[in-house]
């Protein structure tokens, strides 16, 4: 059964989502107001899905969502009365997997959750890929920087510099990037 962390800020409608969830057969493992530390709650409760029921998501809410998405990503479904497309875009950008305006019906919850989970998984795969690309690009820049420094230090050409760096890395059972970092650090020290 899915572990659901439910966040409510609509005092006047308290319980509308919880009732719908219970009716649909879900287990709500925690229910909190919006003033909580969301990343902290996620850490403790370890939910499968986070549901946020809010009249209108504030900037504070968005920030909390961003933190969760960055550090302990989960599918996040937001139920709200806010129609403003700008707010909706902001919410999606912050890491919300599904943004549902009004109309919580027990029978619609399952498909909404299914879509949110699928969307979340594909986002995660994409995010991992982008992260790998960024890192790869960063490594490449660092290696080029070190190569340039070495060419100056040893007055050698590009290919010779690469060969020297690679031999050094291999003899020490390291990766090229590690030797590049050592060269950069040494150069900063002697700078």
């Amino acid at each position: 059964m899915l572990r659901i962390l439910l966040i409510n800020d609509t005092a006047k409608k308290v319980g509308r989502l919880k009732a719908a969830l219970t009716e649909a057969g879900f287990e709500v493992i925690d229910e909190s107001g919006l003033t909580i530390d969301l990343p902290g709650r996620v850490e403790t409760v370890r939910p499968d899905v986070i549901l946020i029921d809010t009249e209108s998501p504030s900037r504070d809410v968005m920030e909390q969502v961003v933190l969760v998405s960055r550090d302990q990503p989960r599918p996040i479904v937001m139920f709200t009365d806010e129609h403003d497309p700008g707010v909706m875009r902001q919410a999606i950008k912050s890491g919300v997997s599904a943004y549902i305006v009004e109309g919580i019906h027990a029978q619609r919850l399952q498909p909404i959750l299914d879509v949110a989970m699928a969307r979340f998984e594909s986002d995660q795969a994409l995010r991992a890929q982008l992260h790998a690309r960024d890192q790869q690009l960063a490594e490449r820049k660092r290696i080029e920087l070190a190569k340039g420094l070495l060419m100056k230090m040893k007055t050698c050409n590009e290919e010779e510099a690469y060969t020297l760096m690679r031999r050094q890395a291999m003899s020490r059972q390291q990766k090229l990037i590690q030797v590049a970092e050592q060269i950069i650090a040494m150069s900063e020290l002697l700078g």
Binding site: Q136, I143, R166, M170, K175
Partner: protein, 403 residues
Amino acid sequence: MIEPHTGPLAWVNGSDAPEKTEINLGFMALSDCASVVVAATQGFAQPYGLTLNLKRQSSWASLRDNLVSGQIDAAHSLYGLIYAVHLGIGGVAATDMAVLMGLNQNGQSINLSHGLQALGVTRPEALQQHVHQSRSKLTFAQTFPTGTHAMWLYYWLASQGIHPLQDVDSVVVPPQQMVAHLQAGRIDGFCVGEPWAASAVKQNMGFTLSTTQALWPDHPEKVLGCTKAFVEQYPNTARALVMAILEASRFIEQSAENRRSTAQLLSAPEYLNAPVECIEPRLLGDYHDGLGNHWQDPHALRFHGDGAVNLPYLSDGMWFMTQFRRWGLLREDPDYLGIARQVQQLALYRDAASAVGVTAGTTDMRSSQLIDGKVWDGTDPAAYARSFALHAMSANTPLLARR
């Protein structure tokens, strides 16, 4: 799909951009995985927008399973393993496979135990006599039922008049466990890649009776293998991967110093986890057989040879099928040439080679003479398979080595 690169890497967005940028690359702990490890750790793939994640495998069988299931995208593979999977031999459903490039030639060894040495079995003729006179069967280990080591062992034994499936027993043992099995007396000899044969000699547990380059100078050995589906889905990634590994292969062979640093790198715990003293000498062609003989081998393990090593010749792929047929692993002649054309990715290889300035000739076959004097040049494979005095073609059941 979000395309993140603009600016300095804008060219990556062109039609040559790898469709998949992170590759899980399988390998076995063997000296001949060097070009794969060097490519992944020494910055050869980054310029092509690829990140290579090395995944060491514990046995050839698990490497095969992970390759077929997609756990790993491409792998340092035995030639025969790729063909066996493609043909559906050996207890797995047939999956279309691809050979992207040759990774190396030569450098495997057939070793015998100290026990046999003590009995005076130190030469091929003595082994032949022993096998035919002794009442108990000797047990030889290789690394995979259809792998290169099985085929070298069978071919070599047969060339000495020993039927590999009748006169001796065969077992499969993962390469890195060979020495332990020899030490425990469970096997009398083995055929394996380095550093495990040199390691046995170094630990005074027997000797090298023959190298595989003595059996076939510049024989095909490991390839970069993947599923056909992978090449079809990610052709740019596959080509970039070949380019990176070609450049790493060229780098390893650029100087003796580069080869020595390669040996150092390989000895690390995450790669071979073996002393550099067991890796470096034979990687540099410096052979001690454990019987007091010492020589500089002209056909030692090589990774590039100006590209001669890396072209996936059709005749190399076909040779393994002829041996599967010879030993009854195939009950009928396959369409040797047709299958080799499907598996060997010659066009993709030639694209990659020309992009990094490596010569790739226009011929798809090569000619070799093996230890028994027979010439293999890819013509009439069915007749070649049928031309051996010792074989198992009429066997009713395929004689797979016991697992």
